[in-house]
């Protein structure tokens, strides 16, 4: 038999032609006649109960079709991929950007004007802007379940005992920042009713999840909700969550007219998830030969007002905390903590770029303390066939870290003349 005919070949991207011609239909390019424009009123306070929403002035504006609030949600007013803790339209504000009211208007200008005239009475609650305050026992609870959303633990061997006796111990604290996905296409969608089925076309990374939560929030059977992914201008994790989907569905089923909603760049920043800021305390122990003996890691992630992918981010961070190294004694705790900050969610790497920063800094610090080169320090600890990971998994399949290390190093020596031989 001849070799593979297409596997391993750099086949040109199937969607490429339309993209270079400018013909691909992203959400903002879809032209539906008679479409209403949707805009959301977002909170400018961080933590408060919504006592009253006065729309009397607004509904008199010509061109305003309808204002929706939490009382208009026909199904269960809570969505989320892991924990269904985020209301589509809220009666309790948990961050500056929480959605309070939805305006449907004949055009964008009118919708924007309407937003300014909606009056909201708040009963303010004390806001929590950092994880340490949120973790205090007497801290006000942002959600009824308390401020600690999840604790992920990985325990193996006796890290404490090894740390107390090891020849070299390095202990440092690391902090990482909040990051925006900044795909060039912001979130957006259109919706309409066709043959009794709610159709939502949307820029998304997960249409089937979207369908689940739209059906839940709108109280519809799942087979009456059709979610179609439009050509999507980047995601990087930011389009895994519900953004415009429930708003579009609500307005389309209540008004029976096609509706459209595209976030501007500011709303995309304010309303959607960010990369989690992490606070990492990392202690590593090694022997004189540079063999890792134990790691003890505490990770606190600020997940902001709603869970989004927070629990998945923190558990993945915990699992990957040792890096691709074999360590027999492991003591890892990862806390996912609610605050009244903007939402943190999935972003390319789910907590592992944060952990790589800490873990790989530790490797260099240990190498320095031991007088071993950074590359050699890594060689002595990388996972091999048969290695056991922190979670007790035996590596018995494709384990390429030895090859990537040697290939990268060899190439680096070629293309980076300053990287001297003494560093081998």
């Amino acid at each position: 038999m001849p070799d593979y005919s297409t596997i391993g070949k750099s086949i040109q991207r199937i969607d490429g032609i339309d993209k270079v011609l400018g013909k691909s239909q992203y959400i903002a390019d879809i032209d539906l006649p008679g479409t209403l424009c949707l805009k959301v009123l977002r909170s400018d306070v961080a933590h408060a109960l919504v006592k009253k929403i006065d729309v009397s002035e607004v509904e008199r504006i010509p061109g305003v079709v309808r204002i929706f609030t939490h009382v208009d949600i026909p199904g269960i007013n809570g969505y989320g991929i892991i924990v269904k803790d985020q209301p589509a339209l809220t009666d309790k504000v948990r961050f500056k950007g929480d959605a309070i009211a939805l305006v449907a208007a004949e055009n964008e200008e009118i919708a924007k004007r309407a937003l300014k005239l909606i009056k909201v009475d708040f009963e303010k609650l004390p806001p929590i802007y950092d994880v340490w305050t949120a973790l205090k026992e007497d801290a006000p609870a942002i959600h009824s379940r308390g401020n600690i959303l999840t604790v992920s633990k990985i325990k193996k061997g006796d890290a404490e005992a090894v740390l107390n006796q090891a020849e070299v111990v390095v202990s440092r604290s690391y902090t990482t920042q909040r990051v925006e996905h900044c795909y060039i296409e912001t979130e957006g969608g259109v919706a309409y009713i066709e043959n009794g089925i709610l159709v939502i076309k949307v820029s998304t990374q997960n249409p089937h999840y979207d369908r689940r939560d739209v059906a839940r929030v709108l109280g519809l059977p799942m087979n009456k909700v059709r979610v179609i992914q439009a050509t999507t201008g980047g995601g990087f994790g930011g389009k895994l969550d519900i953004s415009v989907q429930c708003f579009l569905g609500l307005a389309a089923i209540k008004l029976g007219r096609p509706v459209r909603m595209v976030y501007d760049r500011q709303e995309s920043f304010v309303a959607t998830g960010k990369r989690h800021p992490f606070f990492i305390d990392y202690t590593t122990a090694a022997n004189k030969e540079g063999k890792l003996l134990a790691v003890k890691v505490k990770i606190v992630g600020d997940t902001g007002a709603y869970a989004s992918y927070g629990p998945a981010t923190l558990v993945r961070a915990a699992v990957h905390a040792t890096g691709p190294y074999e360590v027999l004694n492991v003591d890892i705790d990862a806390l996912c903590v609610y605050t009244n900050n903007p939402i943190s969610g999935a972003m390319r790497g789910f907590g592992t770029p944060q952990m790589a920063f800490a873990c790989e800094s530790q490797m260099d610090l240990l190498a320095e303390a031991l007088g071993i080169s950074p590359v050699e320090m890594r060689r002595r600890n990388i996972l091999q066939q048969g290695s056991i990971t922190a979670t007790g998994q035996k590596m018995n399949k494709s384990v390429g870290i030895g090859k990537t290390l040697e290939a990268a190093w060899e190439k680096a020596l070629q293309v980076m003349p300053g990287l001297g031989d003494e560093r081998r």
Binding site: P207, R211, V315, L383, G392
Partner: protein, 325 residues
């Protein structure tokens, strides 16, 4: 003064959701003329999954890629493929499509076996033709499909795949969180201006074990894009929040790398075959970015002889760190 430094960082990355089911399903329909339609819920967000899944279907069916159409990510039409997330679509949906195509192919081969009077195990399909062992039979797939239709047989395939994982123990975290892992090593060369605090990333070598690279150019594209995003993460990007409010929410204050900010990237593809992956593939989407900031931070520490513990390594922070020393 400008100081050079070099940094290395490794990473590993579990493919698919952590210690959780994350199945994907696919349907394949081989049509009368020997072309095929693939139905998958997999959302292509620019990473190229539609192309990769078409390649996997074409290879498995033994037809040309031009003869495959992938219909993706429409809940009324396509089966659930789970999220485009966790670097999972090549591995998980790739397997689902492979299995669906295999299922359809088996029906074609069963009919071919009847027609040619040769055991199905000895038959395969390559570029639209039935092969017997190492030799083309001269019989085209289209002829077999025609025969199927004349007997009222449709050639439909379905497949689904769920990575093999276990739950993690709630107290000890012990278990099997992922069926397979991608690995990578990146080496960064930087130049730090000690007067301005500006870091210039000169070069990044990025070696990635992705399993079999279904589409090497796409893999390189992921690696290069990941390195760029990693440069932003290491040096430029921070959403500043004050009293719960994002400061300057827009692209004029939040700067991401431009063509002038990125370094030369040397992608190296390491193909450590993964038996459970489609044609040995694992994944690359997220791994591309994971070690970049770490490698840059180590390179900056090497250049300055001072280590910093807070990202991003902005000029202000670098100057303040130098002054504190």
């Amino acid at each position: 003064m400008k100081k050079r430094g070099y940094g290395i960082a490794n990473m590993w990355y579990g493919i698919g959701n952590t210690a959780n089911h994350n199945p994907s399903g696919a349907f394949v329909d081989i049509l009368d003329d020997g072309t095929a339609i693939v139905l998958t819920g997999c959302a292509d967000i620019g990473q190229g999954s539609t192309t990769v899944l078409a390649q996997i279907a074409a290879e498995t069916l033994g037809i040309n890629i031009e003869d495959v159409v992938v219909v993706a990510a429409d809940t009324e039409v396509t089966p659930d493929a789970g999220a485009t997330s966790a670097s999972r679509q090549t591995y998980v949906s790739g397997n689902a499509v492979r299995l669906a195509a295999k299922n359809a192919r088996e029906q074609v081969l069963a009919k071919a076996s009847e027609e040619l009077n040769i055991q199905a195990e000895r038959l395969s399909i390559y570029q639209g033709q039935i092969w017997v062992g190492d030799n083309p039979s001269g019989v085209m797939i289209k002829e077999i499909i025609t025969q199927c239709r004349s007997e009222g047989v449709l050639t439909l395939g379905h497949g689904s795949f769920d990575p093999v994982t276990t739950k993690l123990d709630s107290e000890t975290g012990q278990g099997i969180p992922y069926a397979t892992y991608a690995f990578a090593t990146q080496v960064a060369e930087v130049e730090v201006d000690t007067e301005t605090g500006i870091v210039e990333v000169k070069k990044i070598v990025a070696a990635h074990d992705v399993g079999k690279a279904i589409n090497p150019q796409n893999v390189e594209g992921q690696i290069e894009g990941g390195c760029s995003m990693g440069i932003g993460y290491a040096l430029l990007e921070e959403v500043v929040v004050k009293d719960g409010e994002i400061q300057g929410p827009g692209m004029s204050t939040y700067l991401i790398p431009t063509a002038m900010d990125v370094s030369e990237v040397y992608p190296i593809i390491i193909e450590e075959y993964e038996a459970s992956g489609p044609y040995g593939a694992k994944g690359v989407g997220e791994p591309a970015l994971v070690p970049t900031a770490a490698a840059i931070a180590n390179a900056v520490a090497d250049a300055l002889g001072i280590r910093m513990y807070e990202l991003p390594l902005t000029p202000e922070r670098i100057i303040a760190t130098i002054k504190r020393k």
